[in-house]
Amino acid sequence: MNIPKYKLKEFIISNSIAWILGVIWLIPFVGVLMASIRPYREIVGGWWHFSPFTITLKNFVGAFNHPMFPIGEGLRNSLIIAIPSTITPLLVAALAAYAFARYSFPVKHYLFAFIVFLMALPQQMTIVPLYFLLRNFHLLNKFQGLILVHSAWGLAWIIFFMRNYFSMLPTDVEEAARIDGASDFKIFYKIVLPMALPGLISAAILQFTWVWSDFFLALVFLQNPEKYVATQRLPLLRGQYFVDWGILTAASIMVMLVPLLVYTLFQKYYISGMIGWSTEK
């Protein structure tokens, strides 16, 4: 790398700041990683003691097959909930968002404002009525119930997000398709959806991550320990009198790994899709 002299000072300062911030940000993660891959006796005095240093996957195996709250089962439950809770609202919201972006109908603007307003509602405010609602529908303690709640919750922001995304796509491509002979629905799924792919993927990643990381709704709606999702199981691994840091950190890493993997795989789309948060038309 060739850096001209007059830029050297600037280069050193900006790089130092970036590195310092990065390291501060990373230290807790390094701690978690160290605790998870080393035996308990090595980290109990602090993970920063590097001698002796033994690498073991015992903690991961232990957390995965934990006798009381196996994280493996938790991960499976989380996936069972997160995947449909991502796909369902995405499909419904994409249709609604397209209508908001392209068609005119009575009270459109009020309806859209109302949806935006729904985004501001805190989950805690709705939890009691939702609880009764699910109980009346016999969906309490069932995956379907939680999927329904997550899907409904996701609708508002995905409609907002996708509507902005669709608004920014050029209309003349859709008009060209109309003239070429495509029906409204064909235009939507043959032209608009493929063009909106980065937006859809971003929305999917965000929704998936949120559902995956959810603790609150799962805590309220899933009471049967067998149905607990991964995030619900993490605190339970602590034990009452004794904290096995190895098991706990290994479980945390396994839970973190899934959204991290999703981000890494779709990073390219994710960045170009973030345009949906802009309201510019």
Partner: protein, 372 residues
Amino acid sequence: MGEVKLLGVWKKFEDVTAVKDITLEVKDGEFMILLGPSGCGKTTTLRMISGLEEPTKGQIYIGEKLVADPEKGIFVPPKDRDIAMVFQSYALYPHMTVYDNIAFPLKLRKISKQEIDIRVKEVAEMLGLTELLKRKPRELSGGQRQRVALGRAIIRRPHVFLMDEPLSNLDAKLRVRMRAELKKLQRQLGVTTIYVTHDQVEAMTMGDKIAVMNAGVLQQVGTPEEIYNRPANMFVAGFIGSPPMNFLNGTLTEGGFVDFGPFKLRLLKDQFALLQEKGYVGKNLVLGIRPEDIYDGSLAQERASENNMTRATVEIVENLGGERIVYLSAEDISFTAKFPPESKVKEGQKIEIVFDMKKIHIFDKNTKKAIF
């Protein structure tokens, strides 16, 4: 067949009237240009023909078929109008290859795969796209995208082509070439074409007929020669031609002169007779003359007489190589002339200039309409 007829068509967008009472007939196989400045309603007119906009009032026929009549509640959607459109932005489907872009209209019509393949290859061959069929639009240059857009329009063999400023995103050199290619293609296919542009050179060189629009109103329809030589009003006269026509305000005297103040010009006998008959004697009118119809006196002595010449000061000379654009003034009257390269006039010089009285136009000062 492919005639297009608009009868008393209006389009209003809330408070704005984009198109006012347009009646226009495009014959089968004709290349019609809709020409006008931006915001004149030409694109709206095209969009109404395509079915992307619904007229507020009036009727539109494509062939024998009435495709839009709001009073009768008739509106045929674009896909049933048998038209194809080329957009200014080309509007290619970014996620499809060139092949799929061109094939898309046929796929929607459920035509067999073999037939689609034959036709796509035929069109690609015609437009020189054969090598590019597997590429995506973003891997193409502007000119290539343009041709893909054309291919997508041609493949359907529609009755009418609609083109909305299809060349305006190309660089100048390519535009000149595509102009000729497009014209050739249209002749070859013989399909009725309605072409929107704000570029008068495109209009003059490509169109069989030109419809000039301004502020939502159709100003004149005619062949390029008619539009150029017999403009219907001052707008058309001023819009077509570069540099634009000179307009000089004057008064018609009893002796058959138009008096501009600093100088007078004598009308030809039949010109004066016509104006006399219409009662313009003693009244104000506007004389229009194109820059190329004003001559450098030193080069046109055989044409000069005391009735058609004056002295003027050369303000600015623009040398374009093949011709010289000369900005002149006679007291408070300024005008532009186009002289041949042999002309040796210099800035600041006082020269004699000669008006070609056979080529003048006279406009009514109030209505701005041409008297001749």
